[in-house]
């Protein structure tokens, strides 16, 4: 290709990577100019982290070329990437918390004389280095005595001092408060002014519009868009991140269940400081409530609060007309709640156990160790649910880790169905399973609803959620911002709410 008048700082062409036959990255191009702050956006599974890992040599790419300053590079490890000039600072600060700030800045390259570290010289250099970032702290005390924001700046200072030309910041703001974010932004602007190219991964749209020059959006491993921030309105951006082709899916909507039915559980002013702002929520039998919003907006957090996996610090819960406390999943289960988490692999299935053992797990937990289910009962329950949910292969004695994603998800559902819950909470029920299985899971959700179960479903698949939800709660920045019912439940309305709220908050 013909280079423009200026050679870009970093140019990726046709990056591809697949894991076990699934395309995590599919021919992605990415261009970073020097002095540019470039947002890399996308929902979970869009390919952001795979792109970063292939760029920095953590995983090998299947195809694609990478040029830094017009020179072809192919780092095979983070060490090589750093040497080439590409440094990454992760959300989890990767420094030694027990060492002093100065040691962290110069670890492995401390100034020495006769083999001994020149402590005072090192501290002097550390102070000089941090002064460039307007940071005046005691560099002799352990890093862990400082806040996460300062640890981030120390990590950035180290990376930049190691002659970084490209700095990748992977969700650096996720654990920072507003004041800390402004400090970090000042540092980013200053580095950009020095000609360093910054790749900024975040899911806070306000921050993107506050600081980024350019935005690249990934979706399902493909490049969805790349444009200057000024040319990309929020509505457009949200649509690119969430929607596929935006068609009216409302035709498929079922007739809503009678809304007057008595609520099974009512949450009032329920919330936790710094986690999810207080919200009101009513769950009714035969009624599906959907939770929609961008990644990090509080979908999963709401689900966890409702299940008691995270302890709320405000509000009250009424279940079946009685005031109850909800401090642990055990209490929630006793009240008839069930929860299928998003992180199926880490929070849901026990991969080494068989399908049968996974299915009876929750039921057994509710009965307690003193009343074990007999093997016959276990076989009966597992067999019935495997038939009901059409889990394939229908072998209850196969370790669940060997099943496909969709069937693992069904087995998880079976686990909760075995407890005959009154309320079932599903977090991203269709995440990471193949397209055919999507439809089956959705059918299942509808069937459960028709049987009179109350459902709360969190999903990033807007087109799917509008087909089964009777009511949709839209979340943004960890708060419930709108409740849509009836005709209002549609993809465009949801998108409008997410984008409109975002615009207002600036």
């Amino acid at each position: 290709m013909t280079p423009p008048e200026t050679v870009p700082l970093l140019a990726l062409r046709g990056f591809s990577k697949s894991f076990a036959g699934v395309n995590a990255l599919d021919g992605v191009d990415f261009t970073l100019q020097s002095g540019e702050i470039h947002a890399l956006l996308g929902e979970n599974g869009a390919g952001k982290s795979t792109l970063i890992k292939t760029m920095t040599g953590v995983v090998a790419r299947d195809a694609g070329t990478m040029q830094l300053d017009g020179v072809e590079i192919a780092p095979r490890s983070t060490g090589e990437a750093t040497k080439a000039g590409i440094a990454t600072v992760y959300q989890e600060v990767n420094l030694a918390p027990n060492l002093s700030v100065a040691q962290n800045l110069f670890l492995g390259r401390q100034p020495t004389r006769f083999g001994l570290v020149r402590e005072s010289e090192m501290r002097r250099r550390a102070r000089t280095l941090l002064a460039e970032f307007d940071l005046d702290i005691d560099v002799a005390v352990p890093l862990e005595s400082y806040s996460v924001a300062i640890q981030h700046i120390v990590a950035i200072a180290r990376a930049v001092d190691l002659s970084a030309r490209v700095l990748i910041l992977d969700e650096p703001t996720a654990s920072l408060d507003a004041h800390e974010v402004t400090i970090l932004f000042a540092v980013m602007r200053q580095l950009a002014a020095r000609g360093i190219g910054i790749v900024f991964v975040t899911h806070f749209l306000d921050q993107v519009y506050a600081i980024c020059d350019r935005i690249t959006v990934l979706r399902n491993g493909r490049l969805a868009a790349s444009a200057a921030t000024a040319e990309l309105p929020r509505m457009e951006l949200v649509r690119m991140m969430l929607g596929r082709e935006l068609r009216e899916a409302t035709a498929a909507r079922p007739v809503s269940a009678p809304r007057e039915s008595e609520p099974v559980a009512v949450f009032r002013g329920f919330g936790k400081a710094g986690y999810v702002e207080p919200f009101d929520l009513a769950l009714r039998a035969g009624h599906v409530v959907g939770l929609a919003g961008l990644l990090g907006s509080g979908r999963t957090e709401t689900a966890r609060l409702v299940f008691g996996a995270e302890r709320a610090d405000s509000g009250s819960v009424t279940a079946r007309g009685q005031q109850v406390t909800l401090h642990s999943p055990r209490q929630a289960m006793r009240l008839g709640f069930g929860y299928c988490p998003e992180e199926r692999k880490t929070e849901g299935i026990v991969a080494e156990l068989t399908v049968r053992e996974n299915i009876v797990l929750a039921l057994q937990a509710r009965r307690g160790v003193l009343r074990p289910l007999s093997r016959r009962e276990q076989d009966e329950i597992a067999g019935r649910l495997i038939r009901l949910l059409d889990i394939r292969p229908p072998d209850p004695e196969r370790p669940i880790g060997l099943l496909s994603g969709g069937n693992q998800q069904k087995a998880l559902l079976a686990r909760w169905l075995a407890t005959k819950p009154a309320i079932l909470i599903l977090d991203e029920p269709t995440r990471g399973i193949d397209v055919g299985a999507h439809a089956e899971i959705i059918q299942l959700i509808r069937a459960l609803c028709a049987e009179g179960m109350a459902l709360l479903v969190a999903s990033s698949e807007l087109e799917e959620i509008v087909t089964y939800a009777d009511e949709i709660v839209v979340l943004r920045d960890r708060a419930h911002v709108a409740r849509l019912e009836g005709e209002a439940v549609s993809v465009p309305t949801i998108l409008a709410v997410i984008a409109a709220e975002a615009a207002k908050a600036v």
Partner: protein
């Protein structure tokens, strides 16, 4: 200052303990007792220093006691049966120890095995090897040994600094410099702080791990030499359980078992406290020597509780109200 608190506490405990002993037994605070404290615990001090490196890096070395035992048997056989000059025997046994430690470090690093298991295997291996060499106690009669054991530096005030004590003090001083003032030392701390972060920061994790275990085994070898000087013999059952005394000394001295925190000086004081308890019991004459173990156990509990408490307080006090110090 927080970081120095455990060491400070240990030092105060030792000072107070010594004062109490001196009040009870008038001739306790004498040059002879003080110097014996150093001589009698020289071998423990040397291994405990090596253990401190290992624990700070986030590992553990259970093999050191067996390595001491092996060293004494090897020396006795080499000098008495094979007629090897003692200095040559020292060099050979230290090379063997270095190789042994390097192999354990390599196994931990490259097969990604827990240090506990690898050094446990090393412990059985070294002890077994010393039994293979000889099962009886072999006296070492070489004249050089007698001279070394007799030799002592007379200091003003009637202090007799024996060879074992000299070796221990030298090891403590050199290793303190190595741990606290070199790049290698910083890497040891970094490994204990976060292994993955250390790797991401470009530390050669593998090389550092191998070096740490090599150092620990070589120090155990030196400790074995000192032990054989002290007892003038080699016996395959010597120094059983010393690895646990060494861990105890390091922890009493303020080294965190989870890695990342600790000082050589603290370990040195930890050894002296254990020695002080022994000396008290021998002065008393009536108490069973097992009381030393009980007292050490209680002290360990107290120090671990103190450390946890301080960690808790430190976490509470962490400045969440950020920007502290940012202009």
């Amino acid at each position: 200052m927080n970081r120095f608190m455990p060491v400070l506490a240990t030092t105060v405990v030792f000072g107070v303990g010594f004062a109490i002993c001196s009040l009870i037994y008038p001739n306790f605070a004498s040059p002879r007792v003080v110097m014996n404290l150093l001589t009698d615990n020289a071998f423990l001090g040397i291994v405990a220093v090596g253990m401190t490196f290992v624990i700070i890096s986030g590992g553990i070395d259970l093999s050191v006691g067996s390595v001491i035992g092996f060293t004494t048997v090897f020396l006795a056989l080499a000098i008495e049966r094979a007629g090897m000059p003692p200095l040559t025997a020292f060099v050979v046994v230290l090379l063997l120890c270095a190789l042994f430690g390097a192999l354990m470090g390599a196994a931990i690093q490259y097969f990604e095995l827990p240090a506990f298991i690898v050094t446990l295997a090393g412990m059985f291996l070294a002890r077994g090897a010393s039994f293979l060499l000889s099962t009886e106690s072999i006296p070492i009669t070489a004249p050089f040994y007698g001279e070394l054991a007799e030799h002592a530096l007379l200091l003003p005030g009637g202090f007799r600094l024996t060879v074992p004590a000299m070796i221990m003090l030298a090891v403590v001083a050199l290793c303190a410099v190595l741990l606290h003032f070199t790049r290698f030392g910083a890497n040891v701390y970094a490994l204990g702080g976060s292994r993955s972060a250390a790797a991401l920061m470009g530390i050669e994790v593998g090389r550092t791990t191998v070096l740490i275990y090599t150092l620990s085994s070589v120090l155990a070898g030196i400790s074995g030499i000192v032990f054989s000087l002290y007892t003038s013999s080699g016996y395959s059952l010597s120094a059983v359980g010393v690895e646990l005394d060494a861990i105890g000394a390091a922890v009493i001295g303020g080294t965190l078992l989870s890695g990342g925190h600790g000082f050589i000086f603290g370990t040195f004081i930890g050894v002296l406290i254990q020695g002080l308890i022994q000396t008290y019991i021998s002065f008393d004459g009536m108490l069973s020597s097992w009381w030393a173990k009980i007292a050490t156990g209680l002290l360990l509990f107290c120090f671990i509780a103190l450390q946890q408490l301080m960690l808790l307080v430190a976490r509470r006090r962490r400045p969440r109200a950020s920007g502290a110090g940012a202009r």
